[in-house]
Each structure stands twice: as C-alpha cells, then as structure tokens.
Symmetry: C2
Subunit: 360 residues, 2 copies
C-alpha cells in the first residue's frame, strides 16, 4: 500500500520545498569543484576557514565556526553565555527548538535551566520578559518563529525586546535557522539583523536547501570556547567539507531568492484563506512559510491531497499533522519547486483542495 508520503514523492511537481531530498543535493554542490581540493582537517584549512570567514563577514561578527548541526551549535552558545554570566538560567519561547526537538539536550548535557517565556501560540514580547526574575544568562530569540508559522516581530518590537534584555545584563542569542528568509520582511541585511545580537546561529538546510550544517558566530573569545565545546560534543569532525561545499553552493544560489519565495507564500496563503474550513497562521505570511489549519481530520486532508498528487501530479505539502480530533495542520514552505510548476496547475490544485474539503 502506498502511504501519503509515497504518493507525494511520486508526484512530478511539488508545491513546497526545493524538491525531494536525494543524493543530488550533495552532488550538485560539488559539480565543477576540483576533486583535488584539499579537505579541511579538524577545523583547519581553506575548505572550512574560507567559508567561516565569509559567514563571519556577512554576519558582522569577529568569528564564525561551521558546525554539523544547529542542535550542537546553539546549546554550546547558550552554555558559554551561562559560564560567562554565572547562572544556568536561559530564557526562550515555549516552542524553541531546544525545548521540543532535542531530547532535553541543554538540560542533560549542560544542566541549563530553561525559563519559558509567554504563550506558545504567539511571539515573545517585552512584557513576557519583564515578569521573569533575574538572573538570566541569555535570551534566545528565534527569527522567524517556526512552530507558529514563521511569525516575525516588527523591527521596533524586536529592537525593544533585545534592548530590554541587554539592559538587564542578559546576552541575546539569535536562533536564525531561517535568517535569510526573514530579511525581505525587515528590509535589512543579514549583518543589520545580526548586529542586534551577541551571538547568531544560521542553518544551511532549511530555506537554503543544503545537505546539513550550521554556523555559529560571535565574539572571538566566545567562539574560541565554542571550538573547544565543538570538540567535546564530537562535532569537530576530521572533515566537514561534505556539508560546507553544498552549503556555500546553496547560499550563493538561494540567499537572494527569499523575497521571491515569500511572494508565493503570500499568494497561496491568500487563496487558501478563501477556502471555507481553511485558515493560515499568520494570515499574511511574513516570510516564505506559513501553517495551514484545516477543519478536517488529518486523514481526510491526506486523502484529498493524495488525490491531487495522483490526478494533477502535484504534491502540495509533505506532512499533515493532527491538531486534535477533526482538525489538522500542515507547514507550507516555499522554495525552488514552485517555479517548476505551470501556474494553471497551482490554481487547479487549490481549486481541487477547496472542492475536496467542500464535498466532505
């Protein structure tokens, strides 16, 4: 029996993402690269240090280090701030990656004590921070806040929040797995956004579409400590070029396309919000992603989208999750795949979605 994900994989067109995750992602990154290029060796060599320097420059920080994963990079960043400030307490959103996707990493490996700010359904505000007791070593701010549909605070609200934390002696860390996705909304450069923060993490396999990997950037002494912790975590691999070369390739190829992807997110969200029983969060996307909520069980939405994949050859979205009985949710993230689809097919898919939900 074909599962929903099998059916989606088989569809020629994909509404969301950059296409299926296959070995081609790696091999495309190495196309035209000299096979004789020297590998990086335990963090040393042009293959790693060149890209780290480029990212440090882009983010306007004294140093940057390439990590195998953001999970590793971020808990290390927070740990270093904790050691510097002298408390294990860190503050972040209740749906922060460290809280819900890492098996308690920061608690088990670094004994950090997370303080969850505000309400899981909305962005952190300065008021949320105001009611938390000192000391807090570091505030982590995620831009965009992925688990609530990729929401972003206004620039003024962001500056106010960071200032409030700094005033109280906190370090402020930017979890910007999707930094480039945020820039069109702010109309700012990566460096202008990063300048608000003491340390910054960016990922290369979300909107940029790389194979894996992350960069942590910050002050020189902070990054010197990060290098030591990277080794302790088992992340100072003899060679990381298999992730770095595709990361650079994808960064060069896609960092400038986030505004284009965002336009598609707004267009599709607008049309989906006109379908009875469907709403998006946020209503008007502020980056290339949104969450769609359906007044229908996940199985029913899968059945409708499965038919669209089979009949129109267009997979709309990979995973459809049950919110509660009779309600489902799906994360739409726009990337290269949308450009390969004839526009009338996008319209046809949305029409068939509306018809399918209406016929239930």
């Amino acid at each position: 029996m074909n599962t929903y994900s099998d059916i989606c994989r088989a569809a020629h067109y994909k509404l969301t993402g950059h296409g299926d995750r296959t070995f081609a992602m790696l091999l495309d990154g190495f196309a035209g690269v000299d096979p004789g290029t020297a590998a990086d060796i335990y963090g040393v060599g042009q293959a790693i240090n060149g890209f780290e320097a480029e990212m440090a420059g882009l983010l306007g920080k004294p140093a940057a280090i390439f990590f195998p994963s953001g999970t590793m990079a971020q808990q290390i960043g927070l740990r270093i701030w904790c050691d510097e400030v002298g408390t294990k307490r860190v503050a972040y959103h209740p749906l922060c990656h460290l809280e819900i996707h890492e098996e308690g990493s920061a608690k088990y490996l670094h004994q950090l004590e997370p303080v969850l700010l505000g309400d899981s359904a909305r962005l952190i505000t300065t008021d949320d921070l105001a009611v938390v007791e000192d000391p807090i070593a570091a505030l982590l701010i995620e831009l965009p806040q992925r688990e609530i549909g990729g929401q972003l605070p206004s620039w003024d609200a962001l500056v106010e929040l960071v200032d409030a934390a700094h005033t109280r002696g906190m370090r402020v860390h930017l979890d910007s797995a999707r930094l480039f996705e945020s820039l069109p909304y702010y109309g700012k450069s990566a460096g202008e956004v990063a300048a608000l923060f003491d340390s910054v993490y960016i990922s290369f396999y979300k909107g940029l579409g790389g194979v894996a990997g992350a960069v942590l950037a910050g002050p020189a002494d902070f990054m010197a400590s990060a290098k030591v912790w990277k080794r302790r975590h088992g992340g100072d691999l003899i060679s990381l070029y298999p992730y770095i070369t595709p990361a650079k390739h994808c960064y060069d190829q896609r960092a400038g396309k986030m505004g284009h992807y965002w336009e598609w997110a707004k267009k599709v969200a607008s049309q989906m919000n006109q379908i009875p029983g469907v709403r998006t969060v946020p209503q008007v996307p502020v980056c290339n992603m949104f969450h769609a909520f359906f007044d229908a069980p996940a199985g029913a939405v899968e059945a409708i989208m499965g038919r669209i994949a089979t009949e129109l050859d267009i997979a709309m979205v990979g995973a459809i999750r049950e919110v509660d009985e009779g309600h489902a949710r799906a994360e739409f993230t726009f990337g290269d795949a949308i450009d390969a689809i004839p526009k009338e097919l996008v319209e046809a898919a949305l029409e068939q979605l509306a018809a399918g939900l209406s016929d239930r």
Copy 2:
C-alpha cells in the same frame, strides 16, 4: 617558505596512508551511485539503516547506529553503561582517545570519572585492573592501542582481561577505531572479536580511508538510548549519507586489505630497525602501523625526510613530533599509497634516511 607538510604534499609518492585527503575521497565514494537515491532523514531511510544493519550483522550485535564521530559515539556509550550500572567511574588506558584528544568531553558533558589503568607506555593488563577499586561501570579497551604504536595484547591476554572485568560486573566497551587493522594478527573475524565485548565502536576514516564517521553497536536497549543521546549531542543530522556512502565504499574496498598493509608495516619496520639511531614500537608491528623513534631532533628528521621528498619524490610520513630534546617520533600507517610506489624507490628512501641520519 615551504613547510615540511607542504613539501610532503607536493611529493608524488607517499610511503604511508591512502594518499592526500582531498574532495576526491568523497566523490570516489559516490562514483556510480544514483543521484536520485533518497537521502536519510534524521536517522531513517535505507541510506543509513541499510549500512547500520550491515555493520550490526558484521559485528554480531543486535543494533548499530552510524555517528558523525567516534568522539561522540564513545562518550555516549560509556555514559549509558554508567547510567545502567549506577556509577560514573569508567576505566581506560592513560592514552585513551577520551583522555587526550577530546578536551575532557566525557568529564564535561557526562561527568564521568575516568580511572586510568597501568602505565602509559604499555598495554593494560589484568593486574592493572585488579588493583582498581570497585565500582567501575565500564572498562574501555582500545584495539590496537594507537598511541603506543598500535600494539595488541595476545588473544589469550585479551580474553583474560575482558573476563576479569565481566566477573566484577563491569561492562566492557571496545574502542576499535582500527578494528579491521587488528583482525589479521588475531586471525579472527570482526564478529569473533566483537563477541567478547558488550559494545563496540568502529571508525571509517582511519585504515578504511573514509571521509569521517563511526558506528556504535550493542544491545537493543543500549542502542535505543544511544539514539536519544545522539540527538542531544547534535549528531542526529538530517542527513548523514555524505559520510555513510563513502564509508561503505571504503569498507568494501579496504577491509580485506589489512593483512597486505600489515606486511608492509613489518617490512619497513624491519629495515628501519637496522638503521642506527632508529627503533620502532612495537619492534615487530602487529598491524599496519608502528611508531618510529629517532635519536635526532624533529627538525633534523624533517630536514632529511624533506630532502627525500624533494629528491626522490616520496613523502615518508606526515608529522614528525618532538619527544624531548634530541629525540623525535613519527607514526607510520600503511595503506593504499604504498602500492603505487616502485619498490626500488622505497629502498632508496630508506637508504637515504639511513645516510642522512648517519651524516648528522
């Protein structure tokens, strides 16, 4: 100015290793592989689970997990045994990788309390273990013991040591970064060696010549915990196939060649031991590696080997380290590179080494 390592890199022939570490190592591993092959996603998919099953079968363990690094895999393994036994005390050789190459990983991340056994210049014995107080959660045995020239205990001594630990309720973990290198000496299969141990780690970028990566294998519940800790460490990357595919390629290509490499190690060591002022440890290698000690400063040995690299176009060994004033040490590990060298050139290099040391 050209450094010694620049000069070695420029030499056409290499006496030791598998050749320079370049991007070709990755690309060779992917030659002929279908670019449309599905990537592994967070530890799931044939691209990872197929190789894990193959390694579990080879090692005769219920389960195996591919890790980005041995540094990550081993501290996790020891941590799990500690949690199971209920003590933080683990025992290993004073020159264990965890003790000298990992920035105190196990201590800082897992609060393990290492008990160093015996003398750093020789292998661990049953007598060394006998004088250590209980409780010890796990004994780590490294085969071969890399930092003392790749020495191996006799099979009987190994069995006695493992039995002694088991009798006292310890778990016994095998650090076999170089497992395949050890097999010709024992005349045993990987599974026969692994069968002595409760958990096993193997590496893919030492003698096998892969890009990076490791496998940890053991009982099912132990490996289920290892998967959770892998995520906490930041090692559960969205895709590990960039390391797995070359690992499998190199395993298929080189696991059976260790006896051949060993023959070369014995041959070259025998000739080097005839040079006044040179001795190898062990005197007769038991695997494809040995350490050479020179009654000469590191700079003098570099100068002589640099001339050999320039004049004969053959780099003998990468790093020459100072032991103390007037004495140097180098690690010789034999691999594919030796087969590319005309035999008379190997003789000529050893003769020039002897002449160079004699002329000082």
